[in-house]
Symmetry: C2
Subunit: 225 residues, 2 copies
């Protein structure tokens, strides 16, 4: 019993300290007029690919930056850099999620004139949901091959996000995945979710997300003015 | 500094205690001649579907039991029960992995005359890898839609497993996934891995895994004799 209590206390301590650092990061980002987006999903749901597609549409009109969270390797950061965009790698060496303190350590490297800062979290549909990074928007991605039964099985990521992106919709003809069912289930958990159906292959939904992001950036800047 | 030290100490305490309980579970299972298999993967890689296919091949000749680990819902346990097999649900309510103490709590429910005990872990390619459950074999699954770059990005699950199952191989014609590349990368991390290519749709690889499991069961029983 004593041990359980100790574990709970330490967890609260970690989360409490995370919340404080995230709050400071959020304040700085908002003051700089930067819209930060934290992308959450399982490995292989298409976070990096979605970022590539959004970046190609946005990079001529906006200043973009990407933070790549990975347990090991710089593979994703290299993919982003090959588009000519700045990408900062956080390698967690085993840790299953990003924490605000990891961002704080590299925060000075991030130019204050960015418009959008994308943060690709570690591939994990569970743990990253508990850690605020100071973002303005949280995206949860679910790919068609993962199955349409996931929102209720992994609710926390859906509860804490503002945007739900269904990815790899070009695979719908080959797989038993009901987009209406998954949308209804996600909205039952979190009725405020904005839902987008996307395919990086056909380009479906990419323009709609860009329009949404531009609107959110305008709203953020209007508040600052 | 003090806080970091405390966190590390508590984590070691949790893992140390987990190892002890897992050791006791392993001893009991081996004495009963039960081969326990712990299945690890991201959500939606096909753990439940693989279990369904293996069970259908094995259930007429062997006594099977399944422990289902999920954050929320009993959906997977219901799928297994609908095959006429006993399934015990562990709902972790937020926790991102199974721990040996969770199994210990339901251990008395598990019949001693089982041949195979399958343990489907929480869908998460990261955290479950750190927790021994007392299993004889650990399977890591990776589905074709997740991408062939995952072993080095999520090495722990591959290092601690004996078997690597590539699932959803029927999707290979539609997706850029190189089975040779992923196999080579996984073997570079862990040269002892047994690798199986499978498709629940076409049945590819299911028979081969059953043969492998039967051989492992015979070896376990031979040691007991």
């Amino acid at each position: 019993m004593e041990k359980v209590k100790k574990e709970v206390l330490v967890l609260e301590d970690i989360l409490g300290s995370n919340k404080k650092i995230a709050g400071a990061i959020r304040k700085k980002l908002l003051e700089s007029g930067i819209l930060a987006v934290n992308l959450l999903s399982s490995p292989g749901s298409g976070k990096t690919t979605l970022l590539e597609k959004l970046s190609l549409k946005l990079k001529d009109r906006y200043q973009l930056g990407v933070i790549e969270g990975d347990i090991e390797t710089e593979r994703d950061a290299e993919r982003i850099r090959s588009l000519g965009l700045p990408a900062w790698q956080i390698t967690t060496h085993g840790a299953c999620h990003l924490e605000a303190k990891m961002l704080a350590r590299i925060f000075d490297w991030i130019p204050a004139d960015l418009d959008f800062l994308f943060i690709e979290n570690v591939g994990n549909l569970v743990c990253p949901a508990s850690f605020d990074l100071g973002e303005s928007l949280r995206f949860v991605l679910l790919s068609v091959p993962e199955g349409d039964d996931k929102p209720k099985k992994y609710p926390e990521a859906f509860i804490t996000s503002q945007v739900f992106v269904i990815t790899k919709c070009d695979l719908l003809p080959y797989l038993p995945f009901d987009t209406d069912r998954v949308t209804a289930e996600a909205l039952e958990i979190n009725p405020k979710l904005e839902v987008f159906r996307t395919s990086a292959l056909t380009g479906e939904g990419i323009e709609a997300i860009c329009t949404f992001l531009e609107k959110k950036l305008q709203e953020l800047r209007a508040k600052n003015a």
